[in-house]
């Protein structure tokens, strides 16, 4: 599953930002703790100094012990290794039911030929509480930061990518055949998108030029080929009337004539295809296709002596808006196809209703894939002496008028359906 840019960037943020923030919080907590201990120790040392100074100024007036503050002990010797280092301890304070945590610092002094030990206390509780409160505040700020970064990122990327989405929408509407114009903005306010649009615009222009060149090339080439083909044909017409013609040269001439004719037919069909591509049949009129189909059928019945047995159900008075020449080619190609690719003693079934035209005929199975049958130069049967362009003309015309085209083969019956695309 592909995600949108916005979803992607949000996802990355949601994965990495909390990790970074968590690591940040951890570091913050460690630093905070360190600083708070440092402050506590400084305070202890200061208190030690102040109390001792007060004591040596007036030794008699000084209270020897204030619980939770200090204790001055004479000759009382704690082991030397715990002196001068702050340590954790807990004391039972009056008026409190449980012991409280304190930091204590004991130092040894010599005063008036007597040894003293002074221990000062600083409560740990307040420091601990402060640390917790600061940390909680920090966590809250980080959470706020996370949310606002994600939201701002989404908002800003939506805003930033807006020209890109407009470009996307316009280019998806582009089609070299039906909609060759894509007007992309030249000034989006973002250099990269300006560049993208400029590149796309020039690419589209190139595609259009190439497509038009190709279309024109086919048309021009076909046109130019008409004259040499006409010359060859006229010379052949003269040649077959030469009295000196022998059977051998006649057979050569026959082959040339046949090849030349095939070339002429192909050329004509290609020219027609190119003209449809180039939209050279703009004029449309209301055509009575019921009458048209009947007329084509009658003509073919007259033309072909072994016309297959015909059954038809043609609703009269069906009209479509189209070019008369193309409509005639569409229906006569389909009908002729059904006649030419039939089997002896075969049948043709023609149905015309308000919205569809269908033609069924008996015939041999095709060797080509059904969907390839409407491609240029594709033939259902390799040996058949057709140009392979008849059905691509049908498809081209159907496409031009947005008609549906379906083909089916089942049990020796070919079936073609044209859907006029009416709602």
């Amino acid at each position: 599953m592909n995600k949108t840019l916005e979803q992607k960037s949000t996802r990355y943020l949601m994965i990495w930002l909390p990790v970074v923030l968590l690591l940040g919080s951890l570091l913050f907590f460690v630093m905070l703790n360190m600083h708070s201990h440092h402050t506590q120790e400084k305070q202890l040392a200061l208190k030690q100094q102040n109390v001792w100074n007060a004591f040596i100024a007036q030794p008699a007036a000084m209270t020897m012990q204030i619980q939770g503050e200090y204790v001055i002990q004479k000759n009382y010797l704690l082991p030397a290794q715990i002196l001068d280092e702050p340590r954790d301890t807990s004391l039972l304070i009056e008026g409190s039911s449980e012991k409280l945590n304190f930091k204590a610092l004991t130092k040894a002094y010599h005063f008036n030929n007597e040894n003293y030990q002074l221990t000062t206390f600083v409560s740990s509780k307040e420091f601990f509480h402060l640390t917790i409160k600061v940390f909680a505040t920090e966590a809250f700020v980080f959470l706020l930061l996370l949310i606002s970064i994600v939201v701002i990122n989404r908002r800003s990327s939506r805003l930033l990518w807006r020209p890109f989405h407009r470009t996307l929408k316009k280019t998806s509407g582009y089609d070299v055949v039906n909609n060759p114009v894509a007007q992309l903005e030249q000034q989006t306010g973002i250099a990269e998108f300006d560049q993208l649009n400029a590149e796309l615009t020039s690419m589209i222009a190139k595609v259009n030029t190439a497509y038009n060149n190709q279309k024109n090339f086919v048309e021009n080439a076909s046109h130019e080929m008409q004259t040499p083909l006409a010359i060859i044909r006229s010379k052949l017409d003269l040649l077959i009337n030469e009295p000196s013609l022998t059977e051998k040269s006649a057979s050569l001439l026959g082959d040339i004539t046949e090849a030349n004719d095939r070339l002429s037919q192909m050329n004509k069909s290609l020219l027609l295809l190119a003209k449809i591509d180039n939209n050279q049949f703009p004029e449309q009129e209301k055509i009575n296709i019921s009458a048209l189909v009947e007329r084509i059928l009658t003509t073919y019945q007259e033309h072909y002596d072994d016309f297959p047995s015909l059954s038809k159900s043609i609703v009269s008075g069906i009209y479509i808006m189209a070019n008369p020449a193309l409509t005639e080619i569409l229906f006569s190609n389909l009908i002729k196809n059904a006649v030419v690719h039939n089997v002896s003693q075969g049948f043709i079934k023609v149905c015309l209703s308000d919205s569809t035209f269908s033609i069924e005929n008996s015939g041999d199975a095709i060797t080509e894939k059904p969907e390839m049958l409407f491609e240029r130069f594709r033939k259902g049967n390799k040996e058949s002496k057709t140009t392979g362009l008849g059905l691509s003309l049908v498809r081209q015309i159907a496409q031009l008028y947005k008609m549906g085209l379906q083909y089916n083969y089942k049990n020796g019956v070919h079936y073609v359906l044209i859907d006029f695309g009416r709602m």
Binding site: H223, Q226, T227, L229, A230, I231, I232, R233, S234, K235, L236, D237, L238, I240, N241, L245, E247, A250, S251, L253, G254, T257, E258, D261, R262, S264, Q265, M266, K268, S269, L271, K275, Q280, E283, E302, H303, Y304, D305, D306, P324, A325, I329, S332, N333, K336, V340, S384, K385, T386, T387, L389, G390
Partner: protein
Amino acid sequence: MKLLIIEDEDSLLRSITDYFTQEDFLCETASTYKEGIQKATDFQYDCIILDVNLPGGSGLALLEYLRKHKKADGVIIISARDSLGDKIAGLDLGADDYLTKPFHLSELYSRVKALLRRKYASSSSVIEFDKLKLDLLLKTVSYSGQPLLLTKNEYELLLFLLTNKNRVVSKQAIAEHIYGEQTDNLASFDFVYSHIKNLKRKLKEKGGDDLLQTVYGLGYKLSV
């Protein structure tokens, strides 16, 4: 009969001239717009065969000029452009017929003959060849006085061969003449063959044994 052929492609021009000269037409040629206009205005022709793309101007303009100056010569346009619009434009300007390149000389000849028949309608509407008689108005055919019952296609075929009598007409030309030029109907040779077979049989029944000849599988010829 006098014919003016205006065509810039020299090779094609020679082919057409050759073909019509053999049929005892008096052929004049022109290969540019200017030359065409000069000849067409200076002389009177029974028929003008006119190419559309000419150096110096369009054949259609030439036609327009002729009609403006009340020249009533029959005109057949030959053109590499086969769109319906071009055809209609040509016929609207007063052309009598329109033929798309590439065409068969036999087809062009039959168009010219048809044009001349229409133009000089006063002359007999019956074409005779040997003992064969074809009535263009009644569309009936008889051989030594005995009527031949032909289908529409067989009639068209016979008329085409009769017009091009004593000449080999290729089966491709016949197919195009009968089935039209637009469709890719190379399969229609089989149908031409069956029409010819039927026609031969019908002629044979009335005693016209060798009238319709097959020439090396290339085409057919009506000759005595």
